[in-house]
């Protein structure tokens, strides 16, 4: 009796959230799948026309899509791996006992707190080809032989954007890894020291293996985030083909070209790429757990 009433109340409490989920996620997602089989403009002015798999077939032949996919993969692989290594270094620094560790933790929270659009603008200004502080310092110190137009030369655009993303998101990585480090019992290190293991050996035999779960979670989070990257690229280089990622190309088709059908097909493709990565990670974790 009492139990039944509790179950009923629970449904009542969960219901508003479920309704919102259906309304903001389920329904739009269903729309995207639906429209991906149509030729339609996003304002739905002309009557939509069912075209079957035509949008998907076009996508497979579209060199711009392929380029966007390749840009996305490059961005993801480079930004996530650099962020992981740098994040681990920073996490280890904060984790080691020294005066001023609080200061370091506070300092790294600043890039995290800054909106991506703002950080993109800040770096755009610092990377300015004539008055940017990076060019000024670089030339003064002799690192650069002359001023460089980082955001105008196609081969430098993506690396510059990756550098901005690394600055902005490494703190998040460091904080996640720091939480993982704090879970490793101190006794393990004491025991290893007594057995005569060097710091370096301790890192490889204790820290890294025990940090793996936190590392995997952080990697999944960052990879999913990097695969959908939009803000930093759109603000810094717009829809320039040299840096256009899947999300940028997707929005360009949907909104700028008003092409609901093809845009929706790209959205579905992004979902497939995302899930492929998730499954890839899940399988590698599964293997890790079996060992």
């Amino acid at each position: 009796m009492l139990v039944q009433r509790q179950v009923r109340l629970a449904w009542l409490l969960v219901l508003p959230t479920l309704l919102v989920v259906v309304f903001v996620a389920g329904y739009p997602l269903a729309q995207v799948f639906y429209w991906s089989f149509y030729k339609a403009d996003i304002a739905l002015v002309d009557p939509p026309e069912f075209v079957g798999f035509e949008n998907y077939l076009f996508l497979l032949r579209d060199p711009d899509f392929r380029e966007a996919l390749w840009n996305t993969v490059k961005f993801t692989v480079f930004s996530v791996s650099i962020e992981t290594v740098l994040g681990l270094v920073i996490a280890l620094i904060i984790h080691s006992n020294f005066r001023g560790r609080g200061l370091v933790r506070t300092a790294i929270l600043i890039p995290w707190a800054i909106p991506t659009v703002v950080s993109a603008k800040m770096w755009q200004w610092m990377l300015n080809d004539v008055y940017g502080v990076i060019n000024v310092i670089g030339v003064k110190l002799g690192i650069l032989s002359q001023k460089v137009a980082f955001l105008a030369r196609p081969e430098l655009m993506l690396p510059a954007i990756i550098a901005v993303d690394v600055w902005k998101t490494t703190p998040f990585m460091a904080l996640l890894l720091l939480a993982g480090l704090q879970l490793i019992p101190e006794e393990l290190y004491e025991a290893a020291s007594i057995d005569g293991a060097t710091r370096w050996q301790q890192f490889w035999t204790i820290t890294l293996p025990l940090l793996t779960p936190a590392l995997v979670v952080a990697l999944i989070f960052r990879t999913l985030d990097a695969l959908r990257v939009f803000d930093v690229i759109y603000v810094m280089t717009g829809v320039n083909p040299a840096t256009r990622t899947l999300a940028v190309y997707n929005r360009q088709n949907l909104i700028d070209f008003q092409d609901l059908g093809y845009g929706s097909a790209i959205s579905v493709a992004i979902l497939i790429v995302t899930f492929a990565f998730v499954i890839l990670y899940m399988r590698s974790i599964g293997r890790e757990a079996l060992r």
Binding site: Q6, V7, A10, L13, V14, P16, T17, L18, V20, V21, V24, A25, Y27, P28, L29, A30, V32, W35, I42, I90, S96, G100, L103, V104, T106, A107, L109, I110, P111, A113, I114, P115, T116, V117, V118, K121, M122, W125, Y131, V133, V136, L175, L176, A179, G180, A214, V217, R228, F230, Y234, V235, A247, R251, L254, I255, S267, V268, I270, T274, V278
Partner: protein, 280 residues
């Protein structure tokens, strides 16, 4: 020899620390400095690392004769609205999922969590059509609703964790005293989750305040448009002249409140961030 090595190690370590701090802080410092310089100081071949000469002219340019004040208000309305709505919905759902007998608990949790998995861009077209259908395109309400996509699952997820961590005894005492589950939630459990609510709300607010893609796509007029797209399109007097000083001033205006919030609530934010992620 060993001693020398020890000191060398220390020195290298502290050099690394100094490098990390400068690397993290310098870009923001540079934005602040640039926002206080007159144009002559900004566009100079040898820029000063201090705001000399000092001027507030850039800040005046940001606010006088522009929609930036309006954009700030819009951001406040949208981020505040999204935070409140997801906290209210999130508390109710999280209490049911964390404390009540509810058979399809895991199924619901996974549905909510799967929302965070798929990228915002993947629903952009569908959401655009939906907002036009229900007449919420280019409105605060429409934008708030779209933000539920990422603030709500996060809120539910973190709050379920908080509710689960609360001691059973207080709840049981309330039941013994004849309180209904709803009274127990409002009078006993909710006050106990206070700190959790603050952290969760703060993180949801920051996420909504910083959001760009939906704000860019679902708003078209300055009466509704929030700060991130406004900053992205900050124009000069002519298309050829980028007003870097004003852009930096606007950037500082939107970032300083966040940086202060983050510094004040540092411990909690770090705990909330990692709780949200590690449990995922």
């Amino acid at each position: 020899m060993r001693r020398a090595l020890f000191w060398l190690n220390r020195v290298l370590f502290y050099l690394l620390v100094v490098f990390v701090v400068i690397y993290s802080v310098f870009p923001f410092y540079w934005a602040v400095i640039s926002s206080f310089k007159p144009s002559s100081g900004l566009f100079s071949p040898d820029p000063s690392f201090l705001p000399i000469p000092f001027t507030l002219e850039q800040y005046r340019n940001v606010f006088v004769g522009t929609a930036f004040g309006r954009n700030l208000l819009n951001s406040l309305i949208v981020a505040g609205g999204a935070t409140l709505l997801s906290l209210v919905l999130g508390v109710l759902a999280a209490y049911a999922l964390g404390r009540l007998r509810f058979p399809p608990k895991n199924a619901v949790l996974y549905i909510v969590l799967s929302m965070t998995m798929f990228p915002q861009i993947a629903v952009l077209g569908g959401f655009f059509v939906l907002l036009r259908q229900v007449g919420l395109f280019n409105t605060h309400a429409g934008l708030i609703l779209s933000y539920m996509l990422f603030t709500l699952p996060f809120t539910v997820w973190v709050l379920v964790g908080y509710f689960r961590g609360l001691p059973r005894e207080m709840e049981e005492a309330a039941y013994v005293d004849g309180a209904t589950p709803l009274q127990t939630l409002l009078r006993v459990m909710l006050p106990l989750t206070g700190p959790g609510l603050v952290t969760t709300g703060l993180l949801a607010f920051i996420a909504a305040w910083n959001e760009f893609l939906f704000a860019l796509t679902f708003t078209v007029s300055d009466a509704v448009r929030t700060v991130p797209p406004a900053i992205a399109f900050f124009g000069g007097a002519t298309p050829f002249e980028i007003p870097w000083g004003s852009i930096m001033a606007a950037s500082v205006v939107v970032t300083v409140p966040l940086v202060i919030l983050v510094l004040v609530f540092q411990q909690r934010i770090v705990a909330g961030l990692t709780a949200g992620a590690v449990k995922g």
